[in-house]
Symmetry: C2
Subunit: 202 residues, 2 copies
């Protein structure tokens, strides 16, 4: 009758999904345990068997959410043209986040990271990894003479990440502005940061 490891993981996930639905609607602090209970179809006491506190649920949710973003970024369809691949990464990440209604959650995460040290630590760590990963990719492209960066790679990376985050959260306060044509603009901006290496030169 004891639940298997797997069942416990599933249960936790179930709770986190319910929590997510509530967090989207009301944010972390306006969501009550009762909200989560109702959404999860589970009693308060039972939820506390899986998570020690609401705070822990928020933290687990944050970690999950960043995990989701991380995989979303890796799912960008790759292009043979390296410059296009970078443009795609920026564009796809932004549009994917928007289309999956992550705007509110990301805004919530930033706000929480601003005052909750534990959430801040989770986000900071994720951000550091993401930056390094992206820098590594740029470095590799340079090493293989496929591209040259016009500026410091870390700066470029951080600014592009900021651009994506900015686009996503701005969706919240631009309800009726059509962003579907933003790709060419993104392309111009991103492209300007790199010099493609002309094969003819070799």
């Amino acid at each position: 009758m004891k639940l298997s490891e797997q069942k416990i993981v599933d249960k936790k996930l179930e709770i986190l999904e319910a929590a997510q639905a509530c967090f989207v609607r009301k944010g972390f602090h306006n969501t009550t345990m009762q909200d989560i209970c109702q959404q999860a179809g589970m009693s308060a006491g039972n939820i506390y068997r899986y998570f020690d506190s609401k705070e822990v649920i928020i933290e687990a949710f944050a970690a999950d959410e960043l995990q989701w973003m991380s995989t979303a970024i890796n799912d960008v369809p790759s292009s043979p043209d390296m410059l296009q691949a970078i443009v795609d990464t920026v564009y796809w990440t932004a549009t994917t986040l928007m289309e999956n209604d992550k705007s509110e959650l990301i805004a919530e995460l930033f706000a929480e990271a601003g005052r909750n040290p534990r959430i801040n630590a989770i986000y900071t760590k994720f951000n550091k990894q993401l930056t390094q990963q992206a820098c590594g990719m740029l470095q590799e492209l340079e090493d293989n003479d496929l591209l040259r960066c016009q500026h410091d790679k870390q700066l470029i990376t951080r600014i592009l990440i900021s651009l994506v985050d900015g686009l996503v959260v701005n969706e919240i306060v631009c309800p009726d502005f059509d962003m579907t044509n933003m790709r060419p603009v993104i392309e111009t901006m991103v492209t300007s940061l790199f010099v493609p290496i002309d094969p003819k030169v070799n």
Copy 2:
């Protein structure tokens, strides 16, 4: 003995300033009325003579805050070179917001706008104005043959605003990343969106 109009305005401002200090530290929902009372050196009952509810304080604060940003944007030192003027506006706005510790507040505003319709309305309205104002400036530059936009003016504007917001909120999750050299990168990206009109051509 009745307070003059001016005194009432002052009192309200005093309360809003106290509220702001608390909001920076704890965010809207973790700030208690007691926090605000203490910070303002005023009793709870008295604050309720000036604001009907905590909710109203948050709304008034949001409006004030956006007002502050609006003026900050207009305070950008102007440059004779129009392209530089645009770059400056983007760069100055971002750095000014960062230096005045607005990151947490802006993140908080985005999060709140995501679920509180009244705050959303305030922010949306501000955003619309800001976009129009910026578009108007670009239009004027084009009309005077000082510049040509490579893309739709509204799109450019929205994306640049998003970039600024993204840079500012990203400061929260990049505690130890040095952004002081970001200007050249910003310059490259912003510049790429416009074609300066060469006087020789005329």
